[in-house]
Amino acid sequence: MNELAAEPITWWKSFLGGDKDALSSLYRHYFPVLYEYGVRLHDQEELVKDCIQDLFVKLWTNRSTIQQARDPRLYLLIALRGGIYNKLRPAGIRKVVPYEPHHDFRLTFSAESAYVKKEAAGLQSQQLLQALEKLSARQKEIIYLRFYEEMEYDDISAVMGISVKAAYKLYARALEALRGVLNISMSALLLLLAQHKA
């Protein structure tokens, strides 16, 4: 689902023309998305807030050289990820290298979730949640961008700084890691459902 809302694009255009209210509207619209992604990437809230602040101040001061964004959310997510990386990079290293390997991507799958509670399958759920918890940080990140933020692979690859092919591969590996658990627990689950019906 790649719906490009008309409003943010209009705001973007207006702020490039020097309208500070439009920048404020963009900020208010995207703050929740940026905040959540930021603290998932890096656990220190204050550093993430500083990075969001820098991002919007730079947008404003550099507005004469910034292009109209096709997708403001994508632009801001890429910029924020770069900003967080730059803050964490050891002082003195000027070369920009991809932000990896990061220590962690905060995505805690939980049996307490209303989604999981819809599946009355205690043991199967537990096994799947355990397998999910073992995924790598980058696999968790791609799952977050794909299913929570509902981004397409080409956008995900742009945010994560990898090729589209690598994004597909990363996702496929994550599914592969879950397949064993899923097949065993699903056949058990379907059997259970069949018995229940009978």
Binding site: P32, E36, A121, Y144
Partner: protein, 342 residues
């Protein structure tokens, strides 16, 4: 769309199935429930995909604490305003010295003017979530600021300058009438409120301004006010009337107002067939709660009466009894969960 040949992985890539699992579109939900009812041959693949998606989506969403967004924007806005837009150029040493000399001459005057113009005279007051603030302006006009609202204004006004203030949120104005002659209107007699895209011009009156979620309303108690935007014709409103501006549609209208508009001054909210969703908006806008309704039908129920706002616990107790819902308060992220009662 023919889903009968989909396997688990195809289902996982399907935006409509993701919307079904997230459950925020009743039309999509109906479609998939009907589809599964027909016992299609690949129902097993469908179940696997749904089972996996429900677990993939089980991580709790992360929200900033209430007020964080506002506080951070304050920081950004201030940095932008104070960063003097000085273009950086590379210069030789001699030109540097010349520039420095000129700079020293001008700096004294310049900095002085800058401080006078931007820091000495402008004041911004913010009333936090769940609080109110009373402000007396230089002309003795009084402004009561509602929760999560801010007002920017000048410390002093010249005798011949328009009295001008900028509002973000909601406030009640009691403007001092300065016109005491029959001569044409002078600048110093005008009072101007900017709220969202709306400009509200008055002489001396009492009125309530609310600017939330892209809708600006002005309820007039006494006197006459004129409201307008850059893009619309101005409207005059009479006591008891309310002007409403919808930013998205760019539409300015007026209609008979609700005398309860300023009831928040007495820590009350007056309800006449008021939909629950409007009360939810007040809980979110003024108290910083995030409200989750497990049964969305509640949002459209209408209730009558007077809600006391002073004490949040009392308010929630009364609401839960009126609506017959359980309200759970999650203190860590300020979420209110409304669930159908027993």
């Amino acid at each position: 769309m023919d889903y009968h040949h989909y396997d688990k992985n195809d289902f996982l890539e399907d935006a409509s199935l993701l919307a079904y699992v997230k459950g925020n579109d009743p039309v999509v939900t109906r479609f998939w429930e009907d589809w599964a009812q027909q016992q299609p041959p690949n129902i097993g693949e469908f179940r696997k995909a749904v089972f996996l998606l429900r677990h993939l989506l089980s991580a709790e969403r992360i929200n900033a604490r209430p007020g964080t967004e506002q506080e951070l924007w304050g920081r950004i806005s201030q940095t932008i305003d104070t960063a003097a837009a000085t273009p950086v150029r590379r210069m030789g040493l001699r030109r540097w010295i010349a520039a420095a000399a000129v700079f020293l001459l001008l700096a004294g005057a310049g900095i002085g003017y800058y401080i006078y113009r931007y820091t000495g005279t402008q004041i911004a007051v913010y009333a936090a979530y769940g609080t109110k603030k009373q402000i007396i302006l230089a002309d003795a006009s009084m402004v009561t600021l509602n929760a999560n609202s801010s007002l920017r204004y000048a410390r002093h006004w010249g005798k011949n300058s328009v009295r001008e203030v900028w509002l973000d949120g909601e406030a009640y104005f009691e403007v001092k009438h300065l016109k005491d002659d029959a001569l044409p209107l002078k600048a110093g007699e005008r009072f101007l409120v900017h709220a969202g895209k709306l400009d509200i011009e008055v002489l001396g009156t009492t009125f309530n301004v609310k600017d939330r979620r892209g809708i600006t309303t002005v309820y007039l108690k006494n006197g006459v006010v004129k409201v307008g935007t850059n893009a619309t014709d101005a409207l005059n409103i009479q006591p008891g009337e309310e002007a409403e501006y919808r930013q998205q549609e760019g539409l300015l209208t007026k209609h008979p107002g609700d005398a309860g508009a300023a009831a928040w001054l007495d820590n009350k909210m007056v309800l006449h067939n008021t939909p629950v969703k409007e009360i939810v908006q007040v809980l979110e806008d003024s108290y910083g709660y995030k409200v989750v309704l497990t049964d969305t039908a509640v949002a459209n129920r209408k209730i009558n009466g007077v809600l006391p706002l002073k004490n949040t616990e009392t308010l929630l107790y009364i609401l839960s009894n009126m609506l017959d819902v359980d309200i759970n308060v999650n203190k860590s992220d300020s979420t209110l969960l409304f669930r159908p009662g027993k």
